[in-house]
Symmetry: D2
Subunit: 226 residues, 4 copies
């Protein structure tokens, strides 16, 4: 199955992190979503932590807007913040409410170390570097979930209880978010670097992308550790 | 005429900056909007600079979201960013388009020194302090325009060509933004300080509010200097 | 044995994190330094990671200077940055050089997840909050090492090979750093809060202190995991 | 008279801002220092504002350290912070003390708008961009004073009362700071960009350099406006 096309820069970064990307895409947690074997407790633990993750991910996309340098970049970042705060976090709230966990409990959940490491690394990428440092750190989450969504939608067990989760990320609307972010990253690279492959910055941006890909793997693993 | 009520903290800050606040509310530029005597060239110069101001004001509200500590604070900040990027900036674009100035020209306009001083001071308030330092620096613009809108709607000359500008800020929707921000500031003070009037931070927050009120006066003056 | 006195605020925070603080002070890694039983490989692994930690800890104290609001705060922060970059990192370089590890290798060492989580959390505390948020997050490292140094100097085995490490932190010069930072924190609390124990911020600052104390425990544990 | 050589990148930026650079180097304030005609009140007003400038300039170099990516960059930034906080600010204190102005008065002096605009623009350059955005914004002050010092040392009137000020910046120690910063900037460009002249970032970095050069001119002018 072909991976979806989320732009040229993302393609380079993904290829440059081949092994961790594979492990992120095919983690036991993901397989458990696909075939339905993931224990409910693991999924809920993940969902609660993911809510806290989204709080800081919203802060990260807001910091990206602080660092944006074109109107187009600003609009994409503002759209991401709105989607995260007003939609994706709402999905988590709804799903958790069905399990008797309210939003105040979500917001105040104790952050797992794997969660904290991930989001604070992304924030600091923005403080230390520029807009592209943030994009390289933000891309694995945005696009990784898109790629997983597409694959699981095609390969999922008919009776997996995680069909709603899968549908969220396979949805054309989410796929369109991935494409929009991917195009914006390509433009941001053109504006700041030109040809990425011959830039002295290529290695460091790859390091950021690879690092957050590894942090995604730890995040799945955290979900399993219940 | 009574000033609108935008919350307890705002009331304290406004009273603590009585003279500059009066000069901000009643600047010759504002009087020119009211009675229609403001030269068109001044208004357009102001509008172009205000567009650039809104670019950085969006960045400032995004930084506020980075600094938010409750879900309610995050939602207000996300709403402000969305309103600024997707609505208020659009109004400027539309008005300027009617005068033959397109959005690229707006985005790339050379920033006047008064403009730069204002927005960068607000950004640095956020970098140096906490969420309240930002709120004290952001409030004069948000609420000041609300107060001016209400007064000018009541007192404007029948034939002022600036009725659309006045209506924007007198509008119940904009007034509701002021109230929402004012309530959030009261909650943010309760959460971080308790009783503001007896806090050792009171003076510094007042200084930030007073300083950006002065920077608003300079911004009006800049509009006149064409 | 009495713990050294590093100021009133530190005393409150330490008492508020009693159990994790005890576990930080008496971790197996610390006991291994004391009685000399810590494997050399663990110590070197720790030392290399601690070098990378100091890189980001220098960045964190620099961010504290960005957030300082008095000349006295600025001077303490500038002194910490200078001590970290020009002295403490030099000690690690010298010790590691004796083991055949050069500074470029140190600077480019792959950061352990426990390391990254700790330092990036501190950086983000500064971005999200104010000077006191940073101080609450920075204090456990500065003062914890001071307290460990004093105890191990008194209780160490005569033949522990880690006497030089212990002496560094038991040294009057390092103890004086702890006292200076502790006094500055007391002044910073007086300036921004007044009476900490009755402030609505007390809980959050305690959370930051407790969180980095836990991250210190994970850091010791990381040293053992070789 | 040849301008001193402070590195290749600085040379490009200086040439790219030829007219504002000339006006900065040859402002009436500078001529008044050279021939001694500058009124004492102007000099003192400048000195007080320059002290406040140095407070924020120290914060800016600290932010640069937060954004540094190599040990060499960190060391230069740490050295700058130390020199600013522990030496250059001390010079201002000493000179002002002779005029009966103590350090508390300096630290609490009301910031002129020209001063605030300059330093906050530099801080925000760091928040929005990367290390090079800061360097382009910081270079005009560091190197401009070096260039003025060298010229005025050669051309000054025998009886100018500003010989001590001139000597400070003509001093080999200060010249060596300019060279060190210039070399570090060249390395930072090599690390992040490669060939600056063919980079899409060249224009924006030039804009930052040119902007702060203009802000230097306004700063001199502020000194005259007493």
């Amino acid at each position: 199955m072909m991976a979806p096309d989320y732009g040229k820069t993302f393609g380079l970064w993904r290829a440059g992190a081949a092994e961790p990307w594979h492990n992120y895409m095919n983690h036991a947690f993901v397989e458990g979503l696909r075939d339905g074997s993931l224990p409910r407790a693991s999924f809920l633990h993940y969902l609660i932590q993911d809510y806290v993750f989204l709080v800081h991910f919203s802060r990260a996309w807001s910091l990206a807007l602080v660092k944006a340098e074109t109107l187009a970049e600003m609009k994409v970042c503002a759209g991401m913040v709105d989607a995260l705060v007003n939609q994706e976090m709402g999905l988590h709230v709804k799903t958790c409410a069905r399990e008797g966990i309210d939003e105040a409990a979500l917001y105040n959940a104790t952050e797992a170390a794997e969660n904290l490491a991930y989001t604070r690394y992304v924030m600091d990428a923005g403080l230390q570097g520029d807009f592209l440092d943030m994009m390289a750190a933000l891309a694995p989450c945005v696009m990784g979930y898109g790629e997983i969504g597409v694959r699981l939608a095609a390969e999922k067990a008919a009776d997996t209880p995680y069909a709603e989760w899968i549908a969220t990320y396979a949805d054309p609307e989410y796929q369109s978010v991935c494409s929009t972010v991917g195009e914006m990253i390509d433009s941001a690279v053109a504006r700041r670097i030109g040809d990425l492959s011959s830039s002295p910055r290529a290695l460091q941006l790859q390091d950021r992308f690879t690092r957050t890909t590894q942090l995604e793997i730890s995040f799945w693993q955290m979900g399993m550790n219940v």
